[in-house]
Amino acid sequence: MFRILFSAGLRVLTQAGFVAVVVGVLSFFLTRSLPGDAAFRIAAGRYGYDNVNAASAAAVRAELGLDLPAWQQLLTWVGDLASFRLGQSMVSGESVFEHLAPTLGATLHLSLAAWVLAVVLGVVLGTIAEVRRGWIAHVIDKVCTVLRGSPPFLIGLLLMLGLAVHLKWLPVAGYGDTENVVLPALTLALALCGGIAQVVRSRLEQVLASDAFEFAQIKGLPLGAALWRHAAPAVALPTLAYSGVQLILLIEGVVVVETLFAWPGVGHALVHSVVERDVPVIQGAALLMGLLFVVLNTLVDTAVKLLDPRQREGNGAVASEGEFA
């Protein structure tokens, strides 16, 4: 157990360092390769397009040292990063960390809610489809396929129309009140749950067809208890592993969904900083999203290792659930 946690810690540090450098350098060069004059863009971000002119752009250029060679600007950023500073926003002037810290909280709140909801929905749908079979399974299968193929933007708009505009159960968009998280989280969850449901179903199919499960029922266990005792652990592992892989979809989806629902998260900040050519904020936001992915992925991997008796080295246990495959 200790060894697993230690190796996970070590891995997350190495990965994080690697991600930080690659993401930072890549976003720096990608932003620089965009067409257009950065000073004018930043001035537009600061003062609004009505007030952008050569004078305000010149003021921005002088203030920010945009004429410095690229390598000098990049070196400054790397130096700052090495001392755990992310620099200052070119548009607002405040420190990137102060700018992004609240957005990270908002994004974590939204993505965790979405992820938990996606797993719950996926497990429930997958289980119903496999246990009940028949037309309901058919419907769930179709719905899952459609959900997997739908962009979160579309799902979000439909949910807004249905649940907020017509039924008036939830606010359309906004931030700051408890109920505001439900619609964006549900949007992301629906986009993710289709895949999870299909994994749950196919794994459950194997389990239900196994001799061990049949024996459990023959010895008199009711279906619910048999599912809980014998199927749940076997299904949990691949589901968890798969939903970990889906985190990347979640982080991608956050960018679109946050803008649609006026949710002030990292994705939203990223979109705005790209438009405004605010390089330090782009680097900071991309970095945070990259690190978020590394951390969440490590958490999932570690959880999988701790749950899987085959990977839990040293305790010698070989659980019967492992035999179902």
Partner: protein, 511 residues
Amino acid sequence: MKASRYLHLAIAGATALAGHVAWAQSQGADRTLSVVAPWEISNVDPSKAGYVFTRLEIAETLMSVNNAGVLAGGLAASWETSPDQLKWRFKLRPGAKFHDGTPVTAEAAVKSLERALTQPGVLRSANIKKISAAPGNVVVELDKPFAPLLAYLAHSSTQILAPASYGTDGSVKTVIGSGPYKISKLQIPQRLDTERFAQYDGKAPAIEKVSYLAASRGETRGMLAESGKADLVFTHDAVAIDRLKGKSSVQFHTISMPRTVSLKVNAGLPKFADVRVRQALSLAMDREGIAKAILREPTAQATQIFPPSLGDWHVKGLKPLEHNLAQARELLKAAGWQPDASGILHKDGQPFKATMRTFSDRPELPRVATALQAQLRQVGIDAAVAIVNSSEIPAGHADGTLELAVVARSYALVPDPIATLQQDYGPKGGDWGAMGWSSPQLLGALDSLISGSDEKARPQLRSTITSVLQTELPVIPIAWIQQTSSSSARIANLSFDPYETSYRISQLVWK
């Protein structure tokens, strides 16, 4: 069987959640006015997002705009100017207090105005020499007379904040204003909550609490209005207008704004230097079609640069800009352009090609540009559309690469179009205005207006400017922007400020 129990559980859970949410909403809806607009609160600095704080009546400027659209006192109770118009004296409202309880002093006002002068913004072009404080008075000294000064002092970047708003480095840390509402919660960049300021020296507003949400997507704003949860929603996409107009729970409002969609032309290029070519471009435009099909507002069709809402500047008898393809072709022919077999015009072996830049900050602009592209093709001009960041237009103006641009120019940077004209039609043109074009006649009229000629001559000077722009067309007007907004059935006494200096929430009442 057991699975269905889980299903029931899930349904019960969802119902409970929906119930809880409905309950929370009924509790939370204790008379908070919900305002939605596309503008994010990027910063607390008055020179950046200051308009959010003045529109929500948190911070005040010395001057303001009254319901009749005329300049009136804001924090200044009265003002006077010296006979040579070089010294202006503003007397502050004696009872005015900042939200931290301290009185509004002339020193505080001077500090805010001096800071505005150090930031890029309109105040820099107001010929200001010195701003100083006398007891209860703010004194502004000028290098040379500047008649539109009062309008400049209504700009949001000149808002007066309490000394405690500033950090040690002089930057603004928090907005402590003197308006009828004070900030109760600020979550940059999305949300701002305000409540009534008990010590406000004017009439106490009827609306107790306000919650402002910045929603940058038009779809989101449209649905917020439709759901009835938002009381005031500003700027709707043209595509949503018909749907919202059909809703009985939503009141839809259209107000003519001092903002004109126009085609900025680089008259420094040989192909556009000939006034006949610019007139032909104008004649090729089907403004009626654009207004109806894209802006969904037939009255948006521009017949001259200033909309009728700018009463002083809109010239009634002026010959309107027309759509006449035959005349356009004739003018182009007279300017030496001949169509080839495919219909594209040529001159000296060169085809008539141009790139038209536009941006999507206002969603209608790219659509207007593509419509124009098709209309110009009818007279043989091969125009390409480039949808770029808004800053590419001033940048292209500066480096001379810009050919054509579809822009939406505001004539209400301050509540007097002269600020925009000064920027756009100077001797070297302007980033959002003329390019490679200037007119001594227009410059003379503009100078006389700025230096404060006598009141009787002013209408004639204004009409000269409008007429020169109509004949010479350095910038070709296409459509007058209409501000679209919607309100819920809960509120009454609604009015709109075409200069967008205030949402006038303090005048609203609950029904």
